[in-house]
Symmetry: C2
Subunit: 141 residues, 2 copies
């Protein structure tokens, strides 16, 4: 059923029971999906205000200013919202080219091998930075 909210011009993001909204971040140049993360209301407002992607880290229970440690900021070009407004899509310019904490361009660097259900193969082994140099051994951002 198509609801009035599907056709609304009002931005009314629907945060889940934990106060979070899913966010898919895409490289605006390559159209690769870089990562999927979460925002709370504060992270979303800071993102819109500053033009840099800010997420909410569920493990650290704190705002996660992407690039704060690595210098690999995400400059937000566009924020899209889906039909029922419970998911966001960010189009960003990825500083340094790498969004993943492993040093790779995208977090989606493995795929299930064709015809299999348990085995993965790597589609990107190129590291744009050395994660142990950037993060040491204790943190990811």
């Amino acid at each position: 059923m198509v609801t009035s909210s599907d056709e609304s011009s009002q931005f009314l993001p629907r945060f889940n029971e934990s106060g979070l909204i899913t966010c898919v971040t895409m490289d605006s140049t390559t159209q690769d999906i870089l990562m999927v993360a979460y925002m709370n209301e504060e992270a979303l407002q800071e993102t819109l205000r500053t033009g840099r992607a800010v997420y909410y880290s569920r493990s650290r229970k704190a705002l996660w200013r992407k690039g704060e440690k690595s210098g690999n900021w995400q400059e937000v070009q566009e924020v899209r919202v889906d039909c029922d407004q419970d998911c966001l899509q960010l189009l960003v310019k990825q500083t340094g080219g790498a969004a993943c904490h492993t040093g790779r361009h995208s977090c989606f660097y493995r795929r299930i091998k064709s015809g299999q259900s348990t085995e993965l193969e790597f589609i990107d082994q190129n590291r744009l930075f050395d994660p142990t140099q950037v993060y040491g051994k204790s943190s990811t951002e």
Copy 2:
């Protein structure tokens, strides 16, 4: 911190406390993000077995064989997984071109107006099917 699971060739999807995993579905031809949905273990296994996208509908609490009602199946070309294996990316061939229940190509057909935080603008008003004809007035798939 880069963990051994980040570099593993074993597919070990991490379902959340509700038994679900987030799934971002991309059109393999246009590289547009079509939709974001969820899978439980059963939906994932059926997707891998049949090569057609099957999700789990949180509202209906049931398997959601995408296209069952509309005929707009998603033929799965590739399944990727992210670094910590709590998110999947599907690359699909979208039958009929429309993934959204509103009849549009993608669920992400609106963006926040530049410099604003509450107003949306439509970036796609082209409906590839009439949702009231396909779904009637009570269901979306």
